[in-house]
Amino acid sequence: MGLTGILVIEEQCTGCGVCVGACPFDAIKINDEGIAEIDEEKCTLCGACVDACPFDAIEMKRGESSVEIDKDDYSGVLTFGEINEGELSKVALEMLSVGREIADKRGVKLSSVLIGGKELEKHAKTMINHGADIVYYIEDESLFHFNDELYAEALGKLIEEVKPEVFIGGASAVGRALLPRVAATIKTGLTADCTELDIDNETGNLLQTRPAFGGNIMATILTPNHRPQIATIRPRVMPVPQETEKNGEIKKFDFDTTTFKLSKIIKEAVILSEEEVNLHEAEVIVSAGRGVGSKENLKLIYDFAKKLGAAVGASRAVVDAGWISYPHQVGQTGTTVAPKVYIACGISGAIQHQVGMRSSDIIIAINSDPEAPIFDIATYGFVGDLNKIIPELMKKI
């Protein structure tokens, strides 16, 4: 075993086998001597067994990292104020509620950064009124569309100067493209798609909790030796803070875009109607499955969704049949959603669909088959024909 690795402390191991089940990679077995043995070929050092062991008998050793940084140089919480095509996004505001909490716990300032083409001072004021103490903005015509490399360069420069201990942004299409690029550029850790954040005040470590393995497990992840600690957070998990008239600092951050050699341009941004596509931000999703019957019948789902002010989702079967476009697909090979209410209409609830929606607060299912697996996870299940139930229901609304 080298400097780094995993070790079973034989004196402490009782051979109870908890680690065997905890290992996501099937790499542990109890050997003839009744002691846990780790197959190094299979082990990925994920650490699941270390935590699972009731006897502290598994230890993970890390080599001393030579890329230590001085953590005391870093202070404050910075959030990414995402702007899409000139519009401040909802997730930008959501970051301020969780950001505020962490900043208050640490007794530090909450700042935000806006990048865009125009009117950023106006958005900066909105951010202040939602809880930011300081808003930096980087404004240039060339920054109107989201261009990964340019944004990452600008953010990298800002982070170098501001030196926040924590940097968070939404796990939106933009956030999930931009933050990994920034994290790799400044060589720090990034935890994706968190659903919960907390901070350990003693160490300053951010406790980043997220689902993994298709939602089968939750993991809490730390970035103990690097700063800033970066995380993306699932849209709609954190509340939008109350808006009140407040004072704060608005600072322009100078970034000369002309010094950066651009090798990519955004030729056109095609904006589709919002209630149709943005599943991430929807409070309510009405989702169509093959049980809807035909492309024509889908109109019923659209009308129903419209009445509820909901977004329209779909199972893969419906997407593959060409009844609706891919951005609507919920599930393992589509989008993961967690709205307040998810209404599954004519969806059987195959596991690949479930992993994409089972964290929804309330699940309502309409399905004619009483044995459909969707009923195993539905808060309210309705056994019947959706083409009858929904029209009846719409008469009442």
Binding site: C23, E41, L45, A52, R181, T185, K187, S263, K264, Q352
Partner: protein, 263 residues
Amino acid sequence: MNIFVCIKQVPNTTEVKWDLEKGTLIREGVESIVNPFDLYAVEEGLKIKEKIGGDTKVIAITMGPPQAKEALRDVIAMGADEGILVSDRAFAGADTLATSYSLYKAIEKMGDIGIILAGKQAIDGDTGQVGPGIASWFGYPQITYVKKIVEIKDNKMVAERLTDYGYDIVESELPVVLTVVKEINEPRLPSLRGKMKAKKFEPTVFTANDINADENRIGLQGSPTQVKKVFSPPKKEGGEKFEGEAEELSEILFGKLKELKIV
């Protein structure tokens, strides 16, 4: 020109279950598969090769334990020209930063880089960070969530990428890193010839030494993030179930929607 496709071997997460009593994962009999999104990346690589021809090669690359070779076999069967296995005990425990660094070093060693393809995300980690990470290590442009490649010409490409509001039409110079979504294509099934080739296939194995990796950037040591705790998510159970006539059911449903304040 080489087209690199990053593929990852993952446990089929839909088969992984949580044992509530023991609070552990049940992995018995769970098969390993090629991450579903990566098959779209392989297909797109093959399509690009067919379109531009010449001496273009599709090279699949994976970092993982020795058994990850099976994942390479699967995509060799689809038609990939070569398969590289980046494998060394020293890589174990890599988070997305260390993984993207290791893949970057391996791809750099192969050279003649035109396009690097990755999946939108891996279904075990669900992070989608490795693609942008590789792009960053190289300093190459990246286009994430690509749903269509419109054209490739004169060392440039035009692609459509999904956004939260629709899609963007993006033009980039090569080399470029792309991550792809399911909408982009329909992955082909292995051909008979492919299967024969896969059977005999042995990957080129790169160790940490082979790719000249900085030991502080790989494996556990090169990974800023650490898993502190793993636990079971709150259990979802079926709730109330109603049967009856449509009229009756719609009445109950209406009541529930009112309770939830969405009507």
